[in-house]
Point group: C2
Chain length 284, copies 2
């Protein structure tokens, strides 16, 4: 699959978390592998949107003829990092008929009465679908670690359960694409301020966001541990610099295109006799 | 709400099913109320897409502060009439985070073991959401009437159950927008033929579509009866000429904009002290 105009190297490879990865060493305001600027990025995003949409349609079409593949984008990030923008501007280019989006909020009492994967499993994408998790099972090893709601042994159990779960998904035909939008603490402050100076964005502001911000470095430690424990060969993490919204969207789009392109999707031939059906329609 | 460029009259009013309506008298290849042609229609659709998206975002935003409103688009049509195109090109302009789409297929054994509304009720949109039914509870008074799976008394029971259900939805804050895409039989034949001459569309073709086509006039009778029995003041039907795809999309978009605009949505002020929060952020 040819790269998007402006990419000099694949973000799937550049941003993948491998051995020895250090979150603290990653710049948040960079645009790795992309030679252009904001306008070029917006143009490239628009240009590549139909490519992503067509790939998903092929995935859907193949599922009608026995193919058991699907894709799942797992999105994690600090508040204001732009998960919503990824959904609106990257996933939004895909036909809604092919998208299965779940936003995981604070668990209900019923969900809390089960193990943490209980509410996750029913939300995995059907065959042919593009699943999106806006937050995910990773909250149970992030916020739970930061606030001490799970001890070290329990966290280890969860990392292992997550790896087993994702390996099972992958073996059953789901390509798992994990993305952490890596926002700088300074940029978050700017974005929170902007919300309080735009009446169309007041509704997005919650005083609690500022409280949670006090735990920033604990969250970074928790993410580092997540990457060490759960960036596997079948379900690797990608850490995407997110201070530049245009870059984050473009990079995630390209990572998704890459993942779908590697499935070598084709338009199905259909399970009928083409000439016979053409003749039937001629006489209809 | 000002009309889309090119509309000389509101499609919500022009296409609404009122007393004395006759489906047989409706042209399928017209573009009522729109003065432009295909290119103008495509331009208008693109121009109005952000208006629809913003209205839905306001609906969603208000739901975060106690507002209990939602919208539900019910789509019914003969095969190839363009339901999928409405979802992709009209609903597709709305943020996926605000869309709740359900495609109703042939019922499962479990669904058949319940009354027909049993599988419908859990799919109604959450507050703040834009729900879409691709096919719906109306299948139970359309295909069931055509194939004689329900007798006259049972059909009457269902019309009443549907009206009660939709009145209840409406009273609870859901604006119900019902659309039948009115395709001509000749245009359907053209579209089926086109599917068999485009390898990217073979997968959409099913030999059964041609069999069902033999029941065309029975389906038209069943739709006529549906309009007579279930086009109510709170949940009226709209019959949209669908031979011109560009017109059908534009008209449905405008009907949805009209429905949302009538809710007088506003950006919520937020439930915090603006000056206090600005000061907190200044010191952060």
């Amino acid at each position: 699959m040819s790269l998007s105009l402006g990419f000099t190297a694949s973000p799937s490879e550049l941003l993948r978390v491998g051995p020895g990865f250090s979150l603290a060493a990653q710049p948040t305001n960079a645009s790795p592998g992309f030679s252009g600027r904001k306008d070029d990025g917006a143009a490239a995003l628009a240009e590549r949107a139909p490519v992503l949409a067509r790939l998903q349609e092929q995935l859907f079409a193949e599922s009608r003829f026995g193919c058991r593949k699907s894709i799942l984008l797992v999105l994690q990030a600090m508040d204001t990092a732009g998960k919503g923008g990824i959904v609106a501007h990257v996933v939004g280019a895909v036909d809604p008929q092919g998208v299965q989006l779940t936003a995981f909020k604070a668990p209900t009492e019923e969900e809390k009465a089960h193990d943490f994967l209980w509410r996750i499993r029913p939300a995995v994408p059907r065959t042919g679908m593009f699943g999106v998790f806006d937050r995910s099972h990773y909250e149970d090893v992030l916020i739970h670690r930061v606030h001490g709601w799970a001890d070290a042994a329990e966290l280890e159990r969860r990392y292992k359960a997550i790896n087993d779960f994702e390996a099972e998904l992958s073996a059953a035909g789901t390509t798992v694409v994990k993305v952490m939008l890596n926002l700088g603490a300074g940029e978050q402050l700017e974005r929170l301020r902007a919300r309080l100076h735009d009446p169309t964005k007041y509704w997005k502001y919650s005083p609690g966001d500022l409280d949670e911000r006090a735990n920033w470095s604990d969250y970074m430690d928790a993410y580092q541990k997540v990457f060490e424990r759960t960036s596997t060969a079948t379900a690797p993490w990608h850490v995407v610099p997110a201070d530049k919204k245009w870059y984050a969207r473009l990079a995630v789009q390209e990572i998704l295109i890459d993942a779908l392109a590697s499935l070598n999707l084709q338009w199905p031939a259909g399970n009928f006799d083409l000439q016979h059906e053409r003749a039937r329609l001629k006489d209809a």
